[in-house]
């Protein structure tokens, strides 16, 4: 049995990325080839594990910086065009905006005292972003994004845990217990069809 040609096909089959014809080819091959059956089982298993691996969270300071930037970008697009009577708004746009986008524009910071305080507070950030971020956070405290309540747990977390368990059932396992017989799939087909 020449399995070399099937490696990529089986991988694609596990991803649901084969054409109807290709899928039929794979299924026919799988009926007779245990090695490829194991290969498919391995791929499915590793997919499940990868899908359910706990995801490393983005560092808090990164998220904070992104939230601020997001809020600013949205505020910017909503902002009224400049009017004489709103100097604070102007300062907000100029200083804070620049603060969150270092390297894009070189604004003047609001004032040394303020900066020292915020930068000291934000001591954990790398120098490149620390000052600017501190300033932005201070100015935008009103627009600060509220930390969301527990993110909803998606059904996929449960489904992949369930699937992993289902595949480990003794009578459903794809690697065999010595002695139990793996019936060929067509053993479940009828000799006749119903009327």
């Amino acid at each position: 049995m020449d399995c070399k040609g099937f490696e990529d096909l089986i991988s694609a089959y596990a991803d649901g990325e084969t054409t109807g014809e290709e899928a039929q080819l794979v299924e026919a091959h799988l009926k007779a080839c245990r090695a490829c059956g194991r290969r498919l089982a391995f791929i499915r298993r590793s997919k499940d594990i990868l899908a359910s691996m706990p995801a490393p969270e983005a560092p808090a300071d990164l998220k904070a910086a992104l939230r601020v930037a997001a809020a600013q970008a949205e505020a910017r697009s909503r902002a009224e065009p400049e009017r004489p009577g709103s100097p604070s708004g102007k300062a907000l746009a100029a200083g804070a905006l620049a603060g969150a986008l270092p390297g894009r524009a070189e604004p003047r910071p609001a004032g040394p005292t303020l900066l020292d305080r915020t930068s000291a507070w934000m001591g954990t950030l790398s120098p490149r972003y620390g000052l600017a971020f501190g300033l932005a956070a201070f100015l935008l405290v009103g627009l600060w994004f509220e930390r969301r309540q527990d993110d909803p747990v998606p059904i996929d977390v449960m489904l992949s845990a369930h699937r992993r368990y289902a595949l480990a059932q003794p009578l459903a396992r794809t690697d065999s217990d010595p002695g139990s017989v793996d019936a060929p799939a067509d053993d479940l087909e009828d000799d006749e069809t119903d009327d």
Partner: protein
Amino acid sequence: MRRTTSVIQPGSLLAAGLCGAALALFVLDPAWAAPKKAALPEASEVLDDALRGPESPFDGTVSVRAGKGKTKKMAVRCARVPAGGNPSCRREFVDAKGASLLVFATDGSKEWVFDKKLNKVWEGPASGYPEDLKKAVRTHYRVSISTGARVAGRETWKLELKPRSGVGVGRRLWVDRDRRLVLKDESILPDGTVAARSRFSRVSFREDDDPAALRLEPAPGAVLVGRLTPEPAVLSKVREETGFEPRFPSWLPTGYVLEGVELIPHKDKKILHCRYSDGAHALSLFQFPPRSKLDLGTKDRREVRLASGTGFASWTEDGGVLGWSAGGTKLVLVALLGPEVLEHIAESVR
């Protein structure tokens, strides 16, 4: 004659057909040519008989494909003593080499599952087939009957159970015409996919069994555990790790036992995953810390009225899904079982 009950197992012939009611027994001569279009019996009558299971003991060879697993072929020996209304029944599944895989036994009030390999016995109250579940089958499904293909060389009736709501696992059963044993069994998802399948390739009925054949014989030193709830040590570890009080169903279909629990880390939470199985089919119960939000997906969702409040049912290629909350805890069931069974399990959670 005292009626005894059994539970229909989607995709599973393992625990179905535990005990039988009186049936007029006659031997079907395979050479007898049945008229092509036999008069169809009442669907509900055949369904009831199928759910109760055959009266006589039998031997057979059965192939099971549960979910995405491979097909496994096993020999099954069902011991019964039909005379005298004895509800006791013992079914043993054996592999090609004659090694015992699983033994299911009941005496009508208790049931046991014995895994010889692990030398472990799960014991608990017999699940039987509760009256309200039987009624629920009528409410949840449209049942139709037609002539079926021969299975294991025997004439059958084909029963189709389609969920009226369109949400959840449906069933197709091929029932032996005279002994009313379910010979072939399919679990169907709403999109038509056959999610699981079991089939007898050979079956022979006996007339009588020695009561001695009904004994459950664990080897010395077998571990005995509860069928549906974990050991106290496990329970306290779960409380400690999750910070909430876990809950467990007090009823599961015959043959299902708690195999273990696991904790799934998700962001800063730990989700409790209780794993139940009947040897071939998995049933998962997930529980979440208080104030958790769940995203069950929006596909084919249906609201479900439960005693504890409103739940949501949907389905996936892994089977039926039921999510609900009870006393502040959020729970999710995933299994290849019909919607009425999932709801019954949910109602039994304490």
